[in-house]
Each structure stands twice: as structure tokens, then as C-alpha cells.
Symmetry: C2
Subunit: 402 residues, 2 copies
């Protein structure tokens, strides 16, 4: 018997989530076990609202699969909707009504921690109520904080963009013969994987970033100023990478607004950790200082992605469909890194109950108080390898129309 | 007789200034009329301090010329030093002493408006005092505001980066099913060329940026809110591009004026226009709003440059040397766009006195109150064409060691 399938995307955009979508859709469209292939518009909200989009026709063309692979953000739209705890809630009934109505047996959800919670809950509901729906999670997050997988699709491209940007910002700062501190604020509220990746900017040609502060360690302002002063003894320009989520020993976020800075109207000046530390350096050291927030571009820049990441993201999407067609359900797809000096991964899957609602932080032996260790470099370096030759038109990247 | 030559870089970094340097140095090194090729470390400050670096050996190797071409920022270091008005000042004597001591007859200065002021003054001094020094300016600025040239080296790459980033930020904002306003703040103190270039993000696939505000027009907060509200009537996500230098009808910078900070040249230090308008939208419209400052990456990102720009920047550097060897002095090299539907430029030079201390703003027929015209698109589109395949190592761009 032939069933239909639906795929959704959820959580923050990445440069690789559409590559996983391409892998899922390409495999579904080519399978003779699958009838129609639907996309859930804006994730689980699209299913709740019956807002499904037929994908089979557009994505039976290879050129559209290729364009989707190189398009950032979420082609199907995203959401941040968390299913209620009680499985008696009408949401569940509604979702499975939509599945039944559309003859949907397969549901693929591409996302991060909250999305895996959805996968877990829908799978549990299906099992409990004998719905026989196959529910599969495909990981995605630039934060790299999903449990059970060596790394997450999207992380490698974000890490490559961050390392490249920090390198370019460093070269920019080196050009003046003036003492200066440049603070680069990087995404990752709880886990410092992306901030740590700034270390990949280093080479025998240049040593920035000179200091790296991840949220896994308590942040101490005095130590921070000491660290910078120590480096300023031997060089003029200091480049510092900090996570947006650094906190002091009492667990309070380092934010500019909490330090009493005000604009001319007496409103607290809004600003994150970068702005706060910029003010601190200006006050305590008094040299030229600036903070740079890499902002959303670190998650949605598709013009310089990791070939390793984009290709793996495509493959993990394909593997999710293959596993589902074999009857696997309630699992998230994972990367397992093979032992040996050469980087190789194999793709398998893991029970979603072992994964959902956990966060994978940087291990202690990957970081020091103000830097990363060689172990981290060894882990992260292969993930940013390779460049994708992306298709452009009129000088800008060509992305698929939504 | 064989003389030596010196080349310096000045002003803010760009992704193309080293390509012009490569053009200058490559041509000097290969010329039998030239002895030693010096680089002035940190521009005119390096000459004043006698801090010269011999370049001939490193850049007789083609691989180093190629690496220099793809390296952003200023290889020789930069400065923001303005020569005094009075040519009796000891600076002038000092500079020509260093030239004499090092048998330097040729001086090439790659930079923007302030650097062209230096070229004008040194040439005038040389003529007045029969020094026979050849002083040549090579344009460079992401602001595209130098007089006399169709466009400036560095602008095309910055424009490509801005258009690409605005496109990617737009895709990022489209992913949620929520009303939102995204404000992208773009460099350009007085001239809106780079802000206007955000329009190159548009294609038949997507319409962002929906509003563009350049500093050439007085900025009106009420009109701004009306403009956004009008667009929100028919679509959910509005992307706005604004220049960091927008001013109200009385000439006050939006928010920045409250800080009163000035740089060495008396330019107001800018920042915060995006944040100011983010606050305004939150207050007046009340929807989800964020501001993104593209920051220094728009001038120093070398990982996605315009092939047209990088190649032209190399050629204009070469042409500067060729002109100088023919005895041309006190000129800045310029691009002249040829008439006809196909984009073609020829490189020539113009008297520095016609160029220095002028600023080229966007012409009236290139912009409207909140957008650009087709005339602007026709002007700017060819400048971002083509991608450079850059050499990478370990997943990040390979840049030459300083």
C-alpha cells in the first residue's frame, strides 16, 4: 500500500536545513512506496492549521533540489511551537486527524531541541493510540547542542562563517598602528560550540582570536581585563571572541543594559554582551575598542558554507527516509564519527527519548578559562572543510523561490 | 637612470585595496626603470617615520601577488594622518628627506578622500620645490564617493557583500509566520552608494529590501513609519536598508548626534541609527523588530568579492605605474565607463586638484525618498558581477601573512 508523507522544519534558520529537506524530499519523491509528498508550512503550525503544500512536482526536478540545497533559512517556513504535555490536548487529535485525512503515514521533522520534543511526543501518541505513524527527527542547529550525534547539520557552515568572519575582522583591526581591542559576539546562549569555532580562524599566518570565552565557564570581568592587558604587553591588537550567553558566577547574563548605560532620553541602552564588554574595556583600559555582533548572518549566510556540512545534511535527510521506510520510528538521525585519523562519519539513528530535552555542552577538556584546547580543534576542523560552488545570478546567490 | 619607488595605503580597509597594491607592486617589480620597491608601513606615517619595507623579493613571486590580490584589509597597514595645510611644516621636509635618502622618485598612494588630499599636497610641494617626484593617487573606498571616477575600487565587492547579506537576512526573516520589521544598517557616512546597493538583492524570486533610505535625503520619522505601515498592509515581513548616516531635515544624525563624538578629521562618529529606528518601530508599530548592523565585514569580507572589482582594482594599480613611468604626476587614476549597452571601462587619470576634497553623492535621479531608481540599478549591477574562486586552507580563506 502506498502512503503519503509530510515534512516540516522548525526552530531557527540555518544554511543547511534546506539541504536536509532536499535530502528528505528527493528520496521521498523517488520512492515507489510513497504517494504524495507534503510540506508542512511553518512546521507543526502548518499541520495544526491543515496548511500543507504539495512538493512532488517542483522537486522531481533535479535543478530545484540543487537550488534548495544551497538556499538558506527554512524553505517551508518555521515555527517555535511546543506541543502541550498532556497528550489528551486537542492538538494531538487535530494533528492525527490531518494525517488521517491526507493518508499520511510518515512525518519527518527537521529541527533542534524543541523540534525533537515534538518528535518524541508525536511518536509516543502514535504508539499509545495505535496510529502506526512513523515519526522521524532530523537534527538541525548551528548551536551544535543536540544530544546523541557527533555534531549537528548546520553547525559546520556556521562555524566556517564565524571563523572566516573573525579572521577578516582581525585583518581589519591589524591595519592601524594603534592599540585596539575588538570583541566579536557570537551566537549560542548556553553552549559555546560556535564561539569556540572562532579558533579555527588561526593559522601559521595569524593568531586571532587571542581570547575565547564560552558560556560553559563563569565569566569574570576582572580576569577578562587582566587577560587583555597581558596580551597588550606584547602586541597591539587583541581580538576577543565571546558567546552572547556568557554569565557571571551567579548565573547573570553579561548585558550592557544591566550596567546602567543610558541614552539621552534616559532609556537603558540596549545591548548584549559585546557592547557591555566594549564599555568595560573603554573604562578599564581606555584604548580603542569596538564590538562586532555577527548577528543572524552566522546562521543564514549561504554564500560561504562548508561542503562537508551541506553534503552531510543532504545525506542525513536521505537516510531519515530510508530508515522510516524500513519501519524505524521515534528516532532522530545521528552522525557517528569513525575512529581513526581520517575524518569519516556514518549515519544511523537513536531513540528520541534518549535525545529530547537534553543539551550537549562543550566538554571540559575542549576548553580552558579563555581558550579552546587542541582536542576541540581536532573535533571541529573537519566540519568546516570544503567550499560549495554556489550558483549565482546577477552577482548574487541564486536561491529557490518560496 | 634607475630610481626607487614607494607605495602606501591609507584610510579604511577594503577587500580590494590589496589587489590595487598587487597591481602597483607587480608592475614596479617587473619594470627595468625601477630599482627597489618599498612599502610605506602605515601609509604616510611610515614615510614620516622612515618605516619602509622592501617588497621586491616577496612580490617577484606570482603566487604571492595572487595571495595579496585575495587578501582584505591593508597589507602595508594604514593610517588616518592628514598633512598640515602649510607646506612650510616640517612634515613636508621630512617626507622628501626620506624620498631623497632612499632615492625614491615615485610615490603611489592608495586610498580615499583624505589620501587624495595627501597626494595633492605632496605633488604641489614637489612642483613648487623642483623635487621632480612623481606622486600618483590610486582610488579606494567602499563609499564610492571619490570625484572624477565612474566608481571606486572596493565598492563593487562591498556592494556585492551588502546585497548578498541583505538577501540572506531577508530569507532569515521570512521563515516565521509573524509580522516583522528588519532594519539593516549599512556603511556610508555621507554618500548612500552602498546603502543603495542593497537593492541589488532583489530578483524575480524576492522583493527585499522593501525600503531604502540614503543620507542624501532628509530622513523623516513619521514618513518612515507610514512607509512601513503601508507595506505591512499587504505582506508580513518588511526589510529596510538604511545608511548609518541618515539625518533629519535639520541635518542632525539619527541618534548618533547625541554622542557628539568626532574622529581625527572632525567627522562625526556614527553608530546606532539602526538601533534608533528599531526602538521607533517597537514604539509606533509594536510588531517584532530587529536591527542588524553589517559592520566592518562589509568592507573587509574577502570570501565573496566581485570578480569585476578585484580584477579592475588590480588593473588600475598597474595603470598607475605605467602612467607614472610616462611622467604623469599629481593625478588620480580613474575608471571611465564606455557608452553602450555592454559594461566596459577604460582606465585613465585626472588632475588631483579636480578630485581632492570633493565628495560624490548619489545623483538625484538615482534615488527616490525611500528607494533607488532603475538608473541606479543599471549603474551598479555590473560592478558586482562575477565571483572570485579564492584559495582556502583548512576551510578558511588563505590570506598573505603581513
Amino acid at each position: 500500500m502506498v502512503y503519503n508523507a509530510v515534512v516540516g522544519q522548525s526552530g531557527g534558520p540555518t544554511a543547511a536545513i534546506n539541504s536536509s529537506l532536499a535530502g528528505v524530499v528527493d528520496t521521498l519523491v523517488k520512492s515507489d512506496k510513497i504517494g504524495k509528498v507534503f510540506g508542512a508550512v511553518n512546521g507543526i503550525e502548518g499541520i495544526l492549521g491543515g496548511n500543507l503544500k504539495e512538493l512532488s512536482e517542483v522537486f522531481s526536478k533535479k535543478e530545484n533540489i540543487d537550488l534548495l540545497k544551497q538556499t538558506p533559512s527554512s524553505y517551508l517556513g518555521s515555527c517555535r511551537y511546543k506541543l502541550p504535555k498532556e497528550d489528551t490536548h486537542k492538538d494531538y487529535e487535530k494533528i492525527f486527524e490531518v494525517f488521517d485525512k491526507n493518508n499520511i503515514k510518515y512525518f519527518f521533522y527537521i529541527g533542534g531541541n524543541d523540534s525533537m520534543d515534538t518528535v518524541m511526543k508525536l511518536n509516543a501518541y502514535s504508539v499509545k493510540n495505535n496510529k502506526n505513524t512513523i515519526v522521524m527527527g532530523v537534527p538541525k542547529t548551528i548551536d551544535n547542542d543536540l544530544w546523541g550525534t557527533d555534531h549537528c547539520p548546520g553547525f559546520g557552515s556556521a562555524a566556517k562563517y564565524v571563523a572566516t568572519s573573525v579572521l577578516e575582522i582581525a585583518l581589519d583591526s591589524y591595519c592601524y598602528d594603534t592599540k585596539s581591542v575588538t570583541i566579536v559576539e557570537i551566537m549560542g546562549r548556553n553552549a559555546g560550540w560556535l564561539t569556540a569555532s572562532s579558533a579555527l580562524a588561526r593559522s601559521k599566518n595569524q593568531s586571532a582570536p587571542h581570547l575565547i570565552y564560552c558560556p560553559e565557564n563563569a565569566f569574570d570581568k576582572d580576569e577578562f581585563i587582566n587577560d587583555i592587558n597581558n596580551i597588550l604587553k606584547t602586541q597591539k591588537n587583541v581580538i576577543v571572541a565571546i558567546s552572547e550567553g556568557i554569565k557571571d558566577k551567579d548565573g547573570n547574563y553579561i548585558l550592557a543594559s544591566s550596567w546602567g548605560a543610558q541614552d539621552k532620553f534616559g532609556h537603558a541602552k540596549l545591548g548584549g554582551a559585546g557592547k557591555a564588554l566594549e564599555n568595560l574595556v573603554a573604562e578599564k583600559i581606555g584604548c580603542k575598542v569596538r564590538s562586532v555582533e555577527i548577528n543572524v548572518l552566522q546562521r543564514c549566510a549561504a554564500h560561504f558554507t562548508s561542503k562537508t556540512d551541506i553534503e552531510e545534511s543532504f545525506k542525513i535527510g536521505k537516510a531519515a527516509v530510508k530508515a522510516a521506510l524500513k519501519g524505524v520510528s521515534g528516532n532522530m538521525m545521528i552522525y557517528k564519527r569513525k575512529k581513526g585519523s581520517e575524518y569519516k562519519v556514518e549515519i544511523s539513528s537513536m531513540d528520541i527519548n534518549e535525545i529530547a530535552n537534553k543539551e550537549k555542552m562543550l566538554p571540559e577538556n575542549y576548553i580552558t578559562k579563555n581558550d579552546v584546547t587542541d582536542k576541540f580543534i581536532k573535533y571541529a576542523a573537519p566540519l568546516i572543510e570544503g567550499e560549495n560552488k554556489i550558483k549565482t545570478k546577477n552577482g548574487i546567490p541564486l536561491f529557490i523561490k518560496r
